[in-house]
């Protein structure tokens, strides 16, 4: 690592102020940022740790919405997110216990790794990303590989998940990293079905609209049978080519729908 200063604000306002310094960088659970620093691939002047902000932690239900503080760890979502079982199950399968006890939902969504699990849940659930300055709909939030609608210094304070009628996440793990080689989150709401795919696209998480249309009319695994996920723009790497990923999108979508029945 290169040398840097660390501040540990107690409030969102203090954090926002600290992040206004030049080259300051927000630090959530550090599960991506710390390895990046150790490899000397980033050189922030200051790290602003968000883990001391109590207001950003915890899970609570607000009517038919599950509200999760941006600084809430995956482990906490897994154990306290029972009102949205598919989301809690997703959180319980991120990384390993050490990752789940440090990594946070805000950190994951701010990083927007194309193979991370949470972006698919947020997009399929039609979640709202709440920051220190505004609310951003998930459809507007994810803008490509490691790219989001967040401005410089903007902090995810909470995420609001409408609790669906039914939902399921199917993760097919990349054998080495255990990130999603492909992950599909299916969520059924009163106004239709949303299907979000992570791990597959060169542009990060995306909605499979053909499947959404088919499933909104007929929420059964058979509804997907006639569809083919396109391999265009999907990733090819050591662990799977675009064609395989496209195939998995369909298999996992069917399995997710089956699991919702």
């Amino acid at each position: 690592m290169y040398a840097f200063d660390v501040t540990r604000p107690k409030t969102v306002d203090e954090a926002v102020a600290a992040l206004s310094q030049e080259d300051a960088q927000a630090l959530g659970g550090g599960q991506t940022l710390i390895p990046t620093l150790k490899q000397r691939l980033a050189s922030p002047s200051a790290l602003v740790s968000l883990t001391g902000i109590e207001d950003m932690k915890g899970v609570c239900q607000d009517g038919d919405t599950l509200v999760i503080g941006g600084g809430t760890t995956h482990g906490t979502v897994a154990s306290e997110g029972g009102a949205y079982p598919a989301l809690a199950a997703l959180a319980s399968n991120i990384g390993d216990p050490a990752v789940r006890n440090r990594g946070t939902i805000g950190g994951s969504l701010a990083n927007n790794d194309p193979s991370a699990c949470y972006p698919s849940a947020a997009l399929a659930s039609n979640a709202t990303i709440v920051t220190n300055s505004r609310e951003i709909a998930a459809d507007d939030y994810f803008q490509g590989l490691f790219t989001t609608a967040l401005d410089e210094g903007e902090i995810i304070t909470s995420v609001r998940f409408p609790i669906p009628q039914a939902a399921n996440y199917q993760k097919f793990v990349q054998p080495a990293s255990r990130f999603a080689l492909v992950g599909v989150f299916v969520s059924k709401h009163a106004d239709g079905v949303r299907v979000a795919v992570t791990g597959a696209s060169e542009d990060g998480v995306f909605r499979w609209s053909d499947a959404e249309d088919a499933l909104s009319g007929n929420f059964s695994p058979d509804a997907v049978d006639g569809l083919t996920a396109s391999a265009d723009g999907l990733m090819t790497d050591l662990h799977g080519d675009a064609e395989y990923r496209a195939h998995l999108i369909k298999v996992l979508t069917k399995r997710a729908v089956a699991a919702c029945q």
């Binding site: 690592m1 040398a3 490899q39 000397r40 097919f172 054998p175 080495a176 990293s177 080689l181 790497d237 050591l238 662990h239 799977g240 080519d241 395989y244 195939h247 998995l248 298999v251």
Partner: protein, 787 residues
Amino acid sequence: MPKDHGIGASSKRREDVRFLTGTGRYTDDINLQGQAYVHFVRSDVAHGTINSIDTSEAENMPGVVRIFTGADFAAVGSIPCGWQVTDRFGEAMQEPAHPVLAQGKVRHVGDPIAAVVAETKEQARDAAEAIVVDIDELPAVVNMKEALADGAPKVHDDLKSNLCYDWGFVEDNKAAVDEAIKNAAHVTTLELVNNRLVANPMEPRVAVGDYGFANDESTLYTTSQNPHVIRLLMGAFVLNIPEHKLRVVAPDVGGGFGTKIFHYAEEAFVTFASRALRRPVKWTSTRSEAFMSDAHGRDHVTKIELALDADNNFTAVRTETYANMGAYLSTFAPSVPTWLHGTLMAGNYKTPLIYVNVKAVFTNTVPVDAYRGAGRPEATFQLERVIDKAARELGVDPIALRRQNFISEFPYATPVAVEYDTGDYTATMDKLEEIMDLSGFEARRKESEAKGKWRGLGVNCYIEACGIAPSNLVGQLGARAGLYDAATVRVNATGSISVMVGAHSHGQGHETTFPQVIAEMIGIDESQVDIVHGDTSKIPFGMGTYGSRSLAVCGSAMVRAAEKVINKAKKIAAHLLEASEADIELKDGKFSVAGTDKECAWGDVTLAAYVPHNYPLEDIEPGLEETAFYDPANFTYPSGAYACEVEVDPDTGKVTIEKFAAADDFGNVVNPMIVEGQVHGGIAQGIGQAMLEGAVYDAEGQLLSASYMDYAMPRADDLPFYIVDHSCATPCTHNPLGVKGCGEAGAIGSPPAVVNAVIDALASGGKNVPHIDMPLTPHRVWKAMNA
């Protein structure tokens, strides 16, 4: 009832007290007064000419002590290779120089170019980033067949080509083998890749050099499996330091798996730099450095042909293998695809005619050398895969085909120059069928089908040559050192015993098992015996731990030394008991005179040896300490039969291992619990190779799988519960303990079982796939079944 002490008891691993409580002392725990730290500048291109190295900015950075480049090592020796192979035409292999720091050229990503020694690790790294290395990148050779093509870029300009050697074994058999294959009733051919692996011991490599100028003595603390081998290679060939001025210490070592056998540039560097700077110099590898500087394993590309007669008897085997050496010859590299591979091509079968051809090739990749099993897994994999393929082609049961061709009479001289002393392959196969419940397989297959999964069964045998030794034999085969081992049994005045051994324990549990043997021989408690290992200033000149040799070779030396001790102790006892030496018996820690009730305790005799007031000083010396060197008459030949059942998900190609059993013949066993642990670990590594692991280079020589994000190590939930058995024991006939070695068996025996099982599962789903190269990732299996 199982024994609770001595040979055959599952004594608890005493070393685990410190390993499990965080109180082990590893090389990185060693920090010396005035220590400086080194950071290596490594090549980020696979092949190139170094135009210049500009260190001017770095030299003036905070904390920098000195910056070294290849020029500082111009007068220093080349890192030696410990084995010379002679090719088919009687010529010595091509052997390039291997500099400590690059001399004019870089030959793989990770090749060290310069080294910064500074007051702190971070300062060394900061300065290393300020060094400007100007390299003209050259085309890299990565693929072995392309490396041998006319006009291919040469890894070493001063060699004739990228061919290290073209080896034929046994060359005189070639014509007869060709003829037998031509005339065979059936020939099964299989082309396969034995995937390149990175050993990834939990502890990365570390080296600390410490030079004492007052006595002109160098000490190297290093993560090694064999401190005496490092002293020999580095002292004699690289740095020209005589043995009495060089001490090598390998303290607690967190796993080796072969990759810590070898002498590495970093060890020579810290020793050299410490002498130059007159202060200790330390290097601790990062995991990223380990991927590009620890010797890799395997990486063979093979074509094997198996010929059978009309009655399905094996009549001939012919193989052609391309073996990747990487950019330089690591310590044992040339021996792995030859003598540790070709000599095992008979396997467990009485094939009368065998010819093995191996072309060893230089490429712009990290050097490749021994990795758990070393050559024997490669031999076993191709043979057991081609037998399975033959059974499928002929429509016969693969187990019956193996049984029909088993060697059944011992000793058995193979057509590939080794003589198996004992074994009972039918018994181990019978045991395997029993413990795996093979008769229940069809029912389990139906259960899987009901879940929508394809179930497959894979079975294979293995044979290995272990207890790597006979010096006269390995000398004929090209070894440049002896491969005996040594032990000193030092009995203290009160009867407790310290045993100084040449073997090195880095997970094997020697500190527990070696005392069990001594305790059994003398009849004292194991707690009265301690092992000293890992320090050339304390232990006799033994050759360390690899090739499942510790107990078979060093343990035998210890037995010989203990026998000398006991013989002398009997002389002392005879004097104390006023009896004839011939009448003295030692049992349960007591000396007695046969046929009388006269006796004295072990401690009485040992005290007399060191307080020789009433002692036959005119006949024997005081003291009780003996050393023995042991050089066995032959290798040992552990063998076994393994079985694996898998389920394949037809939708995704994902394979899960549902059941796994190993029936091994290790001869006599000292500690069954530790042996089972060794088998478990070996199988985990074998399954890792079969299912998950693979070091992959791109065409430019960049290592794509250079971290755990892309290199998949086996995790607990990738692995099944194992059913293991070692009750079918045929003791080794030529070492005093009758032991054969168990360290590598699991890694040798398991990959073909896994692949055979997956091929069988695909067949049960109607997919006739002849072969899939490891690792059998979901992607590869899905591609193969949809090809």
